[in-house]
Symmetry: C2
Subunit: 189 residues, 2 copies
């Protein structure tokens, strides 16, 4: 998606060879018109897949997921992150480790919002090691629903998460795929 | 806003006389088309106020804030919640206590996304005791920017936050104002 790649080129910051900061338009400040364009692109990519619900995770996936939900006329559920949760029969939960934040969170979705038999599109802002997407797919599996695809805004292809998900049989659609962040330069695949 | 009130009447759950659960369309599952309607209504209410930026707080304010930002063609910044933050000269921060969750969070915004002289519309999903809105207004004050108004999706008018904010001189626009939740019934003002 050229609009997104241009934005990354112009505003992305690269503090280390593995970190891309896009907090000026994606995960702290948000550019609403870019989110709408991203939502439209996800809707286009998955238009034949009879998506019945979108699943994302708080907080940075919400804006794009809601725009995709608007375009596709389906509800969005955002999984909740908590340091630790008292297990509860009303929720599906899984643990997700963030290598960036060096923390593990319990992530939960109320069962009533993820009944069996749904066709779920997972949306997230970043795909690095794949922990968040695998966690969400795990929740969908618990719910006996189907993951029809995983929509990612920015994939750091060099970190292996996309390969891992594809090997597990998931369809991954990333709007910007980054081959390298070495030497302070963004190189797209 | 009738559309919102109807949705609250149909889907809101009232486990106690002070709690309204709207997690089927607002703060766990999200109804994207309702969020768009809410964004349009905020845009209408504040169209003469030369809003330059919207400030909200993760996670439940984001969807409506992004729709309002889309309608008003302004960026959205969401404040980050953390149990405790190492103070940092790059951020504005304040403490916000949640009576519902019985926890106090440090809430931060990177200074670079809140320069002086902005005209800020604060948006949040709920207004109860006013802690979150007052905290965000405090951050705007630290930034030497102006709060042009506070847009609330659901105001629990019986809990005093709206009165407190109005007494402090803020303009509060709430799309649904709840007078009472007694006896499992929603009564609007």
């Amino acid at each position: 998606m050229e609009l997104l790649k241009d934005k990354i080129r112009r505003e992305g910051k690269i503090p280390t060879d593995t970190v891309l900061k896009v907090d000026s338009f994606l995960n702290h400040q948000i550019d609403p018109s870019l989110m709408l364009a991203i939502g439209k692109e996800f809707a286009r990519l998955f238009k034949k897949d009879q998506v019945s619900k979108i699943l994302t995770i708080e907080s940075s996936g919400i804006a794009a997921a809601v725009m995709a939900g608007l375009e596709m006329s389906v509800p969005v559920v955002f999984a909740r992150k908590k340091k630790s949760v008292i297990m509860n029969e009303d929720v599906y939960s899984t643990q997700i480790h963030s290598f960036t934040k060096k923390e593990t969170n319990d992530v939960t979705v109320l069962k009533k919002f993820l009944p069996a038999g749904e066709r779920i599109l997972i949306i997230d802002d970043f795909l690095a090691n794949g922990e968040a997407a695998i966690g969400m797919a795990n929740i969908v599996k618990q719910a006996q629903s189907e993951v029809v695809g995983i929509g990612i805004i920015i994939e750091k292809s060099f970190q292996g998460g996309a390969d891992k998900l594809k090997s597990a049989g998931y369809r991954v659609e990333s709007l910007a795929r980054i081959a390298s962040l070495a030497n302070g330069q963004v190189e797209f695949l």
